[in-house]
């Protein structure tokens, strides 16, 4: 086999310009795909990180049906103490879960004593919320960012509302809410800070202490609208989701229907569609790469067979079996793929390294100077490399087959 490769290398070097051109095409394709995958992959990871670490957490648990009617923040679908206890027990026993934060969510009216507007309120335990969505404090654009997220009697208001209602840090405002029984209650708060929105839900969300929320809603028992869950390792998302679903979605009520439901961040955020679009674009880019390799290698191999018909006739006449002629031409295609892939991978990795040295900065919402650090995994590189080499061999198959089937007499007569 080594001897066949040696001859294949010589044959490729015979048509140097054509071989180099094919290498260049494969290299350009490889670099385009690997760079695209590394940059978009890093962008996706960063954006997912922003969403999970500042709003949603990795997973959320709700009462069944809550998410379907989440726009109205239904109080009648809050979790009761029995369910809360069950969920917390399960989360405690799940080793991939780092922490979680209970939230009480409801819609209310916000008044600065002059004007009134609608607001969505998140009642949170400040310590647990900051631990579950650690980027939340960094979204505070005005007010104190140090210490606890907020204290009882304080409110973080969304920036859109702050601008519209001309509310400032330190202002006293009133929140009015209707509880599940239909009775209206109000409570005054001091504006602790103004909070920037992140892509996805939460654009008009304010934050108060969970005890204040329960007091405002006159809850007789400690209800929770949702649990936001942070994992130790985000790559364990699917595994944890499956475990939680098994543990929490299994039990059913007296009608035989599940009581709880588990959602990942992707189920709850519209960014998941963007992420899917990025994945789709990656597929398209891969298709372009496959086409480039297929066409360029096939072109060079078809030409090689056409120009070497007499030579093929000679080696067939002296007794070279058709299988070995096939191997010889397949080896040439394989070498084109292997060498092109090796060069393309090296250049891609060098460019990715360069992008990490000369960092790409961008701004997303309030997040200033975000640094994009393109990265690509060995598995991704290996997958693309195998794909290119495989396609190169595939592209050589037809010309190689044709070469192996040439009639020696006709081939020897070829001019």
């Amino acid at each position: 086999m080594f001897d066949i490769f040696k001859i294949a290398v010589r044959n490729l070097s015979r048509y140097r310009r054509r071989t180099i051109l094919t290498f260049i095409l494969i290299v350009i394709g490889m670099v385009a795909v690997l760079l695209f995958m590394s940059v978009t992959g890093s962008f996706k990871s960063m954006m997912v990180g922003q969403i999970t670490d500042s709003v949603l957490g990795h997973l959320e648990v709700h009462r069944k049906g809550y998410v379907a009617s989440i726009d109205s923040l239904p109080l009648n679908l809050n979790l009761k103490p029995e369910a809360i206890s069950k969920i917390e027990d399960t989360l405690r026993q799940t080793d991939t879960v780092q922490t979680w934060s209970p939230r009480v969510k409801f819609g209310g009216m916000y008044s600065n004593f002059v004007e009134t507007t609608a607001i969505r309120i998140n009642g949170v335990d400040p310590q647990r919320e900051a631990a579950t969505v650690p980027l939340l404090p960094s979204r505070i654009s005005e007010g104190r960012k140090d210490g606890v997220l907020l204290a009882k009697g304080e409110i973080l208001i969304p920036i859109l509302l702050a601008r519209g209602m001309k509310s400032k840090v330190g202002d006293t405002v009133v929140l009015v809410a209707t509880n599940r029984d239909g009775s209206v209650n109000g409570k005054t708060f001091v504006v602790r800070g103004v909070i920037e929105s992140v892509s996805g839900p939460g654009g008009r969300d304010g934050y108060i202490h969970i005890d204040d929320a329960r007091e405002l809603l006159r809850m007789k028992e400690a209800e929770v609208s949702e649990f936001a869950i942070r994992l130790k390792d985000s790559t364990q998302l699917e595994r944890t989701e499956a475990r939680l679903k098994q543990a929490l979605e299994g039990p059913s009520n007296k009608d035989g229907k599940p009581v709880l439901e588990v959602h990942t961040w992707a189920d709850l955020s519209p960014f998941a569609n963007l992420a899917r679009m990025i994945d789709l674009m990656t597929v398209f880019i891969k298709v372009v790469l496959v086409s480039i390799v297929l066409v360029s290698v096939m072109n060079v191999m078809v030409m090689a067979v056409y120009e070497r018909i007499r030579e093929i006739g000679t080696i067939a006449a002296i007794g070279t079996p058709p299988g070995r002629i096939l191997s010889l031409f397949l080896s040439e295609g394989l070498l084109l793929g292997l060498i092109g892939t090796a060069i393309g991978t090296l250049i891609s990795l060098a460019l990715i390294l360069a992008l990490n040295i000369w960092k790409i900065h961008f701004t997303f919402g309030l997040q200033q100077e975000l640094v994009l650090a393109p990265q690509i995994g060995a598995v991704q590189v290996l997958t693309i490399a195998l794909m290119v080499v495989g396609v190169a061999v595939l592209a050589s198959l037809q010309p190689a087959w044709k070469a192996s089937r040439l009639d020696p007499i006709n081939a020897l007569r070829h001019v």
Binding site: I318, P321, L328
Partner: protein, 234 residues
């Protein structure tokens, strides 16, 4: 026992609607270690006959037995194997692989056809290079060799795998007169040294006079052999 026997051998080609009979009922025998020429003008059927002897083509009718094998029974792969083991070829245009050196061209059948081990290959190729007087040109590629040198390499390539029969189709047609003589004499010398049967075609009267047995082809018919020595019986 004959190396090669043809009996009632015919070959017919179809060219469009017309059938052309290239070989018309040939009967002949060739003995081992003989030096044979098929002579005749262009289009007389020399190449067709050599192609059939070389298992590159099948007869339309009749039988052709080479080394006790009826070549009509060989399929494509079996014919390739048979050629690789028993038959060497020398071509008018030399047909050396242009990317390989003289040494590598001679070595080629031992790698691609017979898979000899490296050490045995080296010994055999070196021996063949010396035998054809090309040991000093071993590292040169075909485009660095003269026509005569290329044909010497081709002779060595034909013999390197210990072929029992070497077929040469117009081996001197692209060579000047002196070189042509040297190549024919080299072939004869190699026959003497190895006992290999050489069968070549030519239409050059001076070259054909070097053959020990000559078959003349006229319009697809093989005429009775003329002998320079008593080696062949028709």
């Amino acid at each position: 026992m004959s190396l090669l026997t043809a009996s009632g051998l015919t070959k017919t080609y179809r060219m469009g609607e017309v059938e052309v009979q290239a070989i018309k009922g040939a009967d002949f025998r060739i003995e081992p270690a003989s030096f044979v020429a098929f002579v005749g003008p262009s289009g007389s059927g020399k190449s067709t006959l050599l192609n059939m002897i070389g298992c590159l083509d099948h007869p339309t009718s009749g039988t052709l037995t080479v080394l006790d094998t009826d070549i009509a029974t060989l399929d494509r792969s079996a014919a390739a194997r048979f050629r690789g083991l028993n038959i060497g070829f020398i071509f008018q245009d030399f047909n050396l692989v242009p990317v390989l050196t003289a040494y590598e061209n001679i070595e080629y059948p031992l790698i691609m056809v017979q898979k000899w081990p490296a050490e045995k290959r080296r010994e055999q190729v070196t021996r063949m290079l010396k035998a054809v007087g090309m040991e000093d040109q071993a590292d040169k590629r075909p485009d660095q060799l003269s026509g005569g040198q290329k044909q010497r390499v081709a002779v060595a390539r034909a013999l390197v795998s210990n072929a029992k029969l070497v077929l040469a189709d117009e081996p001197t047609a692209n060579l000047d007169h002196d070189t042509a003589y040297r190549i024919i004499n080299l072939m004869k010398k190699m026959r003497d040294e190895t006992g290999t049967t050489f069968v070549f075609s030519t239409h050059d009267p001076k070259i054909m006079s070097e053959a020990e047995v000559t078959f003349t082809l006229e319009d697809g018919r093989v005429l009775p052999a003329t002998h320079k020595q008593e080696a062949i019986h028709v």
